[in-house]
């Protein structure tokens, strides 16, 4: 194989990812989400001014994997921490990266109010319908009937409630500038997800309010499925409950072509 001058680099690991092997399970799409965020940071040239806020959840070590300044929040409180940072450093780019237990369960008040205040931050929300890090308990996003270690008989909506759709809910807040749901289950959807992440950062850079990208993501380990089957589960089981789409897009962003 000739590594000729004619060879064009078609894909390279982004610079905003550090040279660290992640602790994620093989095939876990947390890794894809990381990569997309890093690609966007690179493309927008934000690396040197970005401050990330890691959650408590499988992404707790996100701070190790990005080549940017990072803080580690208390469980669910990343939006509050991000608010604190953004308010005293309004010129920086601040994003949180949160799981569904983190964002939609314990951190519900913080995310709703960050949206309500129109906090100029970007939120990457990994909806994998489960608590990954603690070994597979039910999340607010767990599908009806789904067996988890804390819904051993399958999620009974009568007793344990219904899945919570965060994108739909937060789109209701006047402070929201960009709220969409995407999926990570195949290359096409991954490309769309990346574009959404780009727009979510653009929303922040333009001061248009709160931006969140909800990403349907897999947890092969706790779903007890192969990585590939997990992607199919997203496509077939999750998307019907969590429809993909744009729930709120600021008009300035709608005009943008990236």
């Amino acid at each position: 194989m000739v590594m000729a001058a004619e060879a064009e680099l078609a894909y390279k690991r982004p610079e905003a990812l550090s040279e660290t092997t992640t602790h994620y399970c093989p095939g876990c799409t947390h890794g894809i989400a990381h990569r997309l965020v890093a690609e966007v940071i690179d493309e927008m040239g934000l690396r040197q001014k970005t401050i990330g806020v890691a959650p408590v959840g499988c992404a707790v070590f996100a701070y190790k994997y990005f080549n940017v300044d990072f803080v580690e929040a208390a469980h669910g409180r990343a939006p509050a921490m991000a608010t604190g940072i953004k308010r005293v450093l309004p010129g920086n780019t601040v994003f949180t990266y949160q799981g569904d237990g983190d964002l939609a369960s314990i951190g519900m008040a913080e995310i709703v109010h960050a949206a309500g205040r129109g906090e100029n931050i970007t939120v990457i929300f990994i909806n994998n319908a489960i608590y990954g890090m603690t070994g597979g308990q039910m999340a607010p996003t767990t599908l009806p009937g789904m067996v988890t270690t804390s819904s051993p008989y399958g999620r009974d909506v009568e007793m344990a409630g219904y899945p919570i759709r965060m994108a739909e809910m937060l789109a209701k807040m006047d402070g929201s500038g960009y709220i969409v749901r995407r999926s990570l289950h195949d290359p096409k959807h991954i490309r769309q997800a990346k574009k959404a992440i780009r727009l979510a950062f653009e929303t922040q850079e333009r001061g248009l309010g709160f931006a969140m990208v909800e990403l349907l993501s897999s947890c092969p380990t706790n779903w007890k499925k192969s990585p590939q089957d997990s992607l199919q589960f997203i496509a077939e089981q999750m998307i019907p409950v969590f429809p993909l789409g744009d729930y709120k897009v600021h008009e300035e962003i709608a005009k943008l072509r990236v």
């Binding site: 078609a10 390279k12 690991r13 399970c25 990569r35």
Partner: protein, 87 residues
């Protein structure tokens, strides 16, 4: 004539999850079952001809383990330095 391409696998990162294997339109990827990465996984490798450098595998890879190259038929003026394939 199809574009020619090839990939490099950074074995520090590859976890042998096979997601790239499943999405490769040319079906030219497979795990190297005889070898282990430093983390104890079988790494993926090109195991056939026909890679087009389409980078779909890289778009899918959760561990950013892949670098993708594409042969350029002739010299072009404008050469974007590094552009992630998904933009």
């Amino acid at each position: 004539m199809p574009v020619k391409g090839w990939i490099e696998v950074d074995e520090r990162y590859c976890k042998g999850c096979e997601l790239c294997v499943h999405v490769c339109p040319q079906n030219v990827l497979a795990l190297s079952t005889g070898r282990f990465t430093p983390q104890g996984y079988h790494p993926v490798e090109l195991n056939g001809e026909g890679c087009t450098g389409c980078a779909i595998c890289a778009v899918m890879c959760p561990d950013a383990a892949l670098t993708v190259y594409r042969e350029v038929p002739q010299r072009v003026e404008r050469k974007p330095k590094v552009e992630a394939a998904t933009t």
